[in-house]
Amino acid sequence: MIEVEHLTKRYGAFTAIEDVSFSVPKGHVLGFIGPNGAGKTTTMRVLTGFLPATEGRAVVAGFDVFEDPVEVKRRVGYLPETPPLYRELTVGEYLRFCAELRELPRADRLRRVGEVMERVGLRGWERRVLGTLSKGYRQRVGLAQALLHNPPVLILDEPTSGLDPAQNVGVRELIAGLAGDHTIILSTHILPEVEALCAQVVLINKGKIAAAGTMEAVRAQAAPAYFRVSLDAPGVEPAAVARAVGALAEVKVVQPEGEGLRVEAEPGVDPRPAIASMAVGRGWGVRGLERTIPTLEEAFLSIVGREGA
């Protein structure tokens, strides 16, 4: 549904994004993550036809963004980082205006406005002036605007920024409900949100793709799985236990962690049977052998580094 090939955007001498390629199949939610200033918003602006790219190609909903921008714009719903609201209008006035811009037939406009207001939880808010709304409600109006024309593709730039936890859950549920019918690119800093919603992840750093693929692949690529080992060896020094584990061929690195050990192995190798049989051979008890997959947050930090954190 979305194909991005070798996209590059330069502003004068400054390269905002370089050689960015990824694709999103129909009905999927792509998590688009990266530190501030990495090029997320620039990429999204190129995909929505707001900015032209310097090089590369992007196809959205079957149309080339650079050759048929209007056809792409008809099929994309876009929520920019700050909801694009006219402060002096009411919610209803604003959404009816958007419905006209979005070329909805006159007969459908009011019905559609009612539907999306219902969907994003704005029922009864029609007469409220946008400038007086709280951040959470502005975000909802922004979402409503993006959904009005029922676009097959949704591009959401930090839809949950500035929301309280309850509103967060609401927006997350809304997006989960939209997946399947809609192909979604979701940019956010809230990584548990990406883990909950997205099957695919693109991590962009300094304008380049640092990691991309399924959630599992990105996590594993960033920081390989490791194992927590806890052995019960009465009368044996912890350092000696660590040495014994480290002597196994399957084990690459051993570090003490809490009361046990943190064991790393080559990708694809599971050292747990070897550790267990070694322990049993020496008459040690096994308290725990557990495989730990790094969280997306750990993956993010290991790729991006901690300098910005």
């Binding site: 502003y11 602006r45 032209p52 714009k73 876009y78 002096e88 209008l89 205006f97 006209e100 811009l101």
Partner: protein, 236 residues
Amino acid sequence: MTATFAILKRELLTYFVSPLAYVFLGVFLFLAGVFFYLGIALTGEASLRVMLGNVSISLMFVLPMLTMRHFAEEQKTGTFEMLMTSPVSPVAILVGKWLASLTLCLVMLLGTGLFVAILAYYGDPDWGVVATSYLGLLLTCGVFCAGGLFASSLTDDQVAAGMGGIVLLMPLWLVGSASSLVGEEWQARLDHLALLPHLRSFTKGVIDTADIAYFALLTFGFLFLTFRTLESRRWR
């Protein structure tokens, strides 16, 4: 067409739900009233000539203040991004905004109808001249609104857009009184570029295609420059 109309409606709504339109109407009608009184008190003739000449100069300062927010504010609040990511051409956006400011001008000019009514009550105005005068004034508004929009498209700072608009339009006025600098012979040539001589034929009751072409060209020129600026902003 739908989009142009939608934008026109939205702009008018913004004018009239905020104090903006009322402040402009108030200021403009006050100025026009002063010029109306002075025109009659000084010349003793029952005509709108003096008032309209002065009104056109004050519009040069007032209208850029009206149009300054049109693009500058949208750039700043991010609504411009929404307009440009909807399936609407920049031309439709531009024309919608221009028509909206021109509509407010029309309302302002209609307000001066009060003075025409006073004139008709006490004197016997030439209705043909009144009609052509208003036509000329409306064409002038078209030029000023287009110039103001151009200034607004150049920046996301409203004050800069307003001042820039005034500076942009002033030469149209100043070039008409440069004879002390360039001499009478060149002044005659410069008069073709100046706005007031073209407006003057309308206030005399003359509709000349050359004058209409002058206003149309300036309006179209400013709108075209605005269009190019909007397009080019995306490349920067």
